[in-house]
Amino acid sequence: MSSTLLAVAAAGMSAVVAALVLTAAGGTDDASGRAVVQALVVAVPIATGMYALRNARTKRFGTLLIVAGVVWSLTALSESSSSLGHSTGRVAGWLVFPALVYLMLSFPQGRLLHLRDRALFWGIASVIVVLFVSSALVVDAYPRPSPWSSCREDCPPNAFQVLPSEPAFFGAVVAPVRDLLSVAMLLGVSASLVVRLREASTLRQVTIAPVLAVSIVTTLTVVAFIVLRRAAPDAGLVEEVGFLWTLCLPALAAAFSLGLIQRRLVVSNVLSALTGVLGTAQSPAQIAAALRHTIGDPSVEVLLWDRDHRRWHRDDGALVPAADVTGPGRTLRELGDRDGRLAGVVFDVRADVDDELVASVLALGEAALREARLKADLETSLIDLDDSRQRIATAADVERRRIERDLHDGAQQRLIALRMRLALAEDLLRDDPDGALEAIQHLGDDVDATIDEIRALAHGIYPALLADRGLADALRGVARRLPMRVDVRATGLTRHSPQLESAVYFSCVEALQNVVKHAGDVTRTRVTFDQGRARLAFDVADDGDGFDAGTAGAGAGMRNMRDRVESLGGTLSIRSAPGRGTTVSGLVPLGARPSSVGQRMAARIAPAVQDDAGQSER
């Protein structure tokens, strides 16, 4: 709290004491009653104002309350029997009006937000200054009866009068006019307050209703007082209404405190209810519904950001026009992670919205969205992982069947035939040694063919060259059997685990087979390995026909490669354009141990794609 405000508060408190002393010394019948009222009138607003100063959100309002309280305290001087004291008190009674009206119209922001409110404030301020305060220079005495003073006919004379006597037109013209203007403008204030109350969101109503209600009662009381004083100045009712009017400021302060407390309750209820709802919300639509309900703004929407096309869309995929996102009166609150924005909450900007609550509500909404997003991502990853595992398992089964088939149709049949021929040669040896010799030579050829068959099969399962000499030499071996020129270049390439080497090897073989099958007119193909400290990059680039990478879907071969590389925690990408060749690039991390699942996958898919490569050797 600043020292200025402390000083103001201290001055206010001194004024309270002074007011009490003066009131008590007034000598009227109900002096002590008036003293208590005066104490309340000044102490409650100042105390509440000081409390409100502690919070940045209510600081302005607190300051206004203290100022109003201090000015109000001067009204106690009206009870003074001295002419100067009484006159000062009565002028202060008028000066209270602008402060009070400002206080009411600016609640709770502490600022006059609407043109009509500014007009009302300045209108009243002008009337007070021009028609009331200035009149102190001309009138003989102040209007009677007054809520500030208990004197009737015996009031001290006006100390500020500069004219020898009050002009006749004053009582006849100015006084009725200023009363009329006051009544009109105070009714305007009431109307403005009613409108504000009706326009406020449900939540806001709870907070501001007490203050606005008291404000409306206050203005209507003042109106009634002015009207009654003019109609029946001697009626007892005037005094009673006047007394009621003096209670308005403390009532206003009390209502403000009540509003603060109520707001706390509502906010905590709203937030805890929202937390519960959001806990079970699954989709952005459900989250949006919860926010709509909480903020009381039916226009709240949760939008999702389409990173690829850089535009907003709704949960159901519908695109959102820019005007709906950033149009007049709309506010967009973006939500993102380190990779950029993900979603946004759009809502109506209203002057009357409780910013602090909206901020809390939106923060909760954001957290819920983020959680929903994470859950969805996780589910997608799990599904991807599951798909990948299934493909790998299927590939492994297919591969086992292929190996069995190869063995059955190839080596097994040859060996069976060999055994049968051997038996025939045995018989022949007895009956026809020359024929037997020929038969045995024939058997030798069969054995050679069988050896070749088994060698090719073994190569398909795990190439001997890869096991013995590593990636570069193994791929050079593959390259020699392909119908085009292939350069294999390796920078800093060392040996790695069989899982990594086979995954990279079979990915490259697959890419090379794609070049043979699809690339068309290729003059050269280059296989490059570039090993860094923590990763191994490889690519297979041709200068063939290329294709439109945007339209061609990934084939089974590409998916196979991707599964292999991703099982090592790596990535695989393909770049191509018609007439510009094709480059398949992979990047696998080194050193970091792949997950045990990843290892198993890599081990199981190692032979899966060898099909064609094996055949090319036969």
Binding site: H408, D409, Q412, Q413, R414, L415, I416, A417, R419, M420, R421, A423, L424, D427, L428
Partner: protein, 132 residues
Amino acid sequence: MTPVRVLTVDDQPIFLEVARALLESTPGFDLVGEATSGVEALVAAERLHPDLVLLDVRMPGLDGLETARRLADQQPGAVVVLVSGDNAEDLRALAAESGAVALIQKERLRPRVLRDLWARHGPAAGAVRAKH
């Protein structure tokens, strides 16, 4: 004595080839036809009326077991011997139900085995059994 007319059936050409050599080396047996599938075998049997069919168990499409079953209906006179390159023990029960008289591991085939088979399951054996 008229030679035994033999039909060989296998999708593996290598077996048909070695079976040809086997039958050439086995007096009293004549290769009258070769088929590379079950369907082909049924057609050939209809036409050739073989005495003995050497039928591979594992073939794509109509396999040896099913072919044997149909041959038993279609050519009751033909003696069907199933031959297998895989472990024959696994197939015993199925082979017994198929109407084939025997199931032989391919690599055990040789002239003596062929003669024994015919002696045990050929019509002469039936005649012997009939006399009993």
